[in-house]
């Protein structure tokens, strides 16, 4: 404040430095406490919740939080994997190991099955990401899931920045960003009609770096493709894609062996690897902190399609 006039009586003097506050939670503890609160709210309010589990780092952190939230008892939810048929084998292995280790029940919605039945058609670009919405929605309806946990984070993408923690979906799983319920304090409104369900995002307030730092702090095991390894890849749309039966390389694309790792894990056809020599969690965290690109900007072809690609997919019922 100014030295030239009398300071108004109600004005506070800015603190020079934060006093020692033994009771302030660290940011990771605060985020963890919030996420656990969200899991328990769902357990208390819903009949048939399910956790979307892809074997990606965000869903792995979700499961870890759920295990902590209900210890010493078991997690009162089952898991749901939308299998695109283009999965990384390392990630499927991880999924099956995890399900077995924790005695969980796994539901699988298979994109391949929908293609085989002729309900869905393979896209010309080979990407199966947008094809996941129908199998997901029909599985939710068939199993009558009323709460579906997703690992989406608001820092990932600008359409997600406006997503609620509890996000109501109609029987078609559609999201209408203009008709969202206001969400105040930690009072989450999960009321829904029969046939509707609520998507729940316990990691809403986490950033990519928070997720990695939490993985390091908690010593959480991850699929090995998150760490640097040699892999046969080819370049498409500026990204390194894994060569394989799913549809690459095509004419003019050449395969080379490179030292890479995956920063996100999704469908093989649209998830790019990044050049990296980070073989440990510490090295990965250092690399992310130094990155000039967001994780989706660096690794996801599907979000490069248009400015509103994520919003459009979300409206249709995507994760």
């Amino acid at each position: 404040m100014s030295t030239t006039t009398t300071v108004p009586a109600t004005t506070t003097v800015p603190a020079a430095a934060e006093a020692v506050r033994p009771y302030a939670l660290s940011h990771l503890d605060a985020l963890e406490s919030e996420a656990v609160h969200i899991f328990r709210e769902v357990a208390g309010e819903f009949e048939r919740p399910v956790v979307l589990f892809s074997g990606g780092k965000d869903s792995i952190v979700m499961l870890h939080l759920a295990l902590k939230a209900f210890a010493p008892a078991a997690v009162p939810f089952s898991l749901l994997h939308v299998d695109t048929g283009h999965n990384f084998p390392e990630v499927l292995d991880y999924r099956d190991r995890t399900v077995k280790k924790h005695g969980l029940r796994l539901h699988v919605a298979s994109v391949q099955e929908y293609i085989d039945r002729g309900v869905l058609k393979e896209r010309s670009d080979g990407t199966r990401n947008p094809l996941q919405t129908l199998p997901l929605t029909e599985k939710i309806q068939a199993e009558r899931f009323d709460a579906v946990f997703g690992g989406g984070r608001r820092d990932e993408e600008k359409a997600r920045a406006k997503e609620r923690v509890f996000s109501l979906r109609d029987e078609f799983s559609q999201w209408d960003p203009r008709r969202q319920r206001p969400e105040l304090w930690n009072l989450y409104n999960g009321r829904h009609a029969p046939g509707e369900h609520v998507r729940v995002f316990p990691l809403s307030n986490w950033t990519e770096l928070d997720v990695w730092q939490y993985i390091a702090r908690e010593g959480i095991d991850l699929p090995e493709i998150y760490f640097a390894h040699e892999r046969d890849v080819f370049q498409r749309a500026g990204m390194w894609l894994t060569a394989g039966d799913w549809g690459g390389p095509k004419d003019g694309e050449t395969v080379e062996r490179r030292l890479v790792r995956y920063r996100t894990v999704g469908d093989m056809s649209c998830t790019g690897a990044v050049d990296s020599d980070a073989t440990t969690l510490e090295a990965v965290i250092t690399e992310i902190a130094a990155s000039r690109l967001t994780e989706r900007g660096a690794t996801r072809a599907d979000d490069k399609m248009s400015e509103a690609a994520m919003e459009d997919r979300k409206r249709e019922g995507y994760f």
């Binding site: 006039t5 605060a30 359409a159 902190a289």
Partner: protein, 427 residues
């Protein structure tokens, strides 16, 4: 938004030791149209090195499509198709950034459409609100309204950011005049205090670095203040409030799971369960896998009690001399959120902590038309079952509630309990 921006150098990762000392600050911004709020938010994100290359490219691309020569930092947050088409912000956007000292969650609330509803939403979880004024215009009607909402929502820390100081020649007397004016309103509103900072979001003065052009100003730059303002309060002095979320049964044991809403609890503390009134002592506390002697808000934990009581979701466990008021008559200040009006006689659901009860609207500070969207007012409710209530002024978590439409589940109204407040009918 006219500043030119460049992608920023990323921050250094923190060590495990540093991380355990990094706290989280949730804050909100409020400003009138053209106060430069988007510029200030963009400046904070940019100068704290939180804008990455691909985000900036997307903003530049979108700005060009809209015929703008320079990147519009508002587009960093306005991500929805309708927002870009109409050039407006339609909803609260959450932004995340970090410095070496602290992580920040910013609730960026639009200044025009539905601003009361959105500002109330953003302020409900904020520990600090930045109220922005244009140095040329000083305190205007919107500023007073923003201050009133911050006071109503009991946001613990208020920053008065006097922006566009470059347009008033960085004059101390311009700043002091506005601060004095705002202080008068703050006193009327019973605001606990505020921190005035002269800034120019456009040029960056006093945003991240203290500016030589305001050498008469002795306080910190805005970011330094955000990094140092105390968070969390002191839970040891506050009454303990533990709303039960869920009962975890394991063998014979019952673990009561919840998030401590206020205060602290120790093993051995005598506790009361509301609304039953049963009493017991705390036998054990677990904080997510770790057995502890003491826990404090806002930790998520499980409690074990020495006696077998009937405790379930929606009950509240408390300790200490200041018991909550157990009542079916709820007096509160409210902000109406929904487009449909709220009228006397309406049947609603009250969601308070982890409990949901039926209620009837008995009185309202509104005429026949009822409360409409973005109205602030007072309400008296009669609930079907008693609720353990604290005044919102004493405890934000146990003094807050929302009203829900039982027909379709819509969130209608935000409420802040004021037990001794005036009768809604007489205001």
């Amino acid at each position: 938004m006219t500043s030119t921006i460049e992608p920023t150098e990323p921050i250094e990762p923190l060590s495990v030791e540093q991380l355990s000392e990094t706290t989280l600050l949730r804050f909100a911004t409020a400003g009138s149209v053209d106060d430069g709020k988007s510029t200030l938010v963009g400046r904070l994100l940019h100068d704290s090195k939180s804008v990455l290359t691909d985000q900036l490219e997307a903003v530049e691309h979108a700005s060009r499509n809209r015929g703008q020569d320079t990147p519009d930092l508002a587009l960093l947050t306005d991500g929805l198709r309708a927002e870009r088409e109409q050039g407006i912000t339609i909803d609260v956007a959450y932004r995340y950034f970090a410095t070496a000292k602290r992580r920040f969650i910013l609730a960026d609330t639009p200044g025009h459409v539905q601003y009361t509803r959105n500002m109330v939403t953003g302020a409900s979880t904020a520990e600090l609100t930045i109220i922005l004024v244009d140095a040329r215009n000083g305190v205007v009607e919107q500023t007073r309204r923003h201050a009133a909402i911050a006071a109503l929502l009991r946001v613990p820390h208020i920053v008065l950011a006097v922006n566009k100081m470059d347009l008033v020649g960085y004059e101390a007397k311009e700043f002091d005049r506005i601060v004095e004016d705002f202080a008068g309103h703050a006193a009327e509103l019973d605001l606990p205090g505020f921190t005035p900072i002269p800034v120019s979001a456009l040029t960056g003065d006093n945003v991240v670095e203290r500016s030589a052009r305001t050498d008469w100003y002795e306080g910190p730059a805005l970011l330094a203040h955000l990094e140092s303002v105390p968070v969390g309060g002191d839970p040891t002095g506050a009454p303990a409030r533990f709303p039960v979320q869920y009962v975890i049964r394991h063998g014979e044991a019952r673990h009561y799971a919840g998030q401590l809403a206020s205060g602290s609890l120790r093993v051995g503390d005598r506790v009361t369960v509301h609304p039953s009134g049963g009493t017991s002592a705390i036998e054990g506390i677990d904080v997510l896998g770790e057995e502890v002697r003491e826990a404090y808000a806002p930790q998520s934990l499980t409690l074990r009690l020495a006696d077998h009581l009937d405790v379930s979701r929606g009950d509240m466990i408390t300790s200490g001399p200041d018991a909550p008021a157990l009542t079916r008559d709820v007096r509160a200040a409210v902000c109406h959120l929904a487009d449909r009006p709220l009228r006397v006689g309406d049947r609603v659901l009250v969601r308070h902590t982890t409990r949901t009860v039926k209620a009837i609207v008995r009185e309202l500070t509104a005429g026949e038309a009822g409360l409409t969207a973005n109205d602030l007012g007072r309400i008296t409710l009669r609930t079907a079952e008693p609720l353990p209530l604290d005044d919102y002024a004493d405890c934000r978590r146990t003094g807050a509630f929302i009203l829900i439409d039982p027909a379709d589940g819509a969130t209608l109204t935000a409420g802040m309990v004021d037990l001794g407040g005036a009768d809604a009918a007489t205001v």
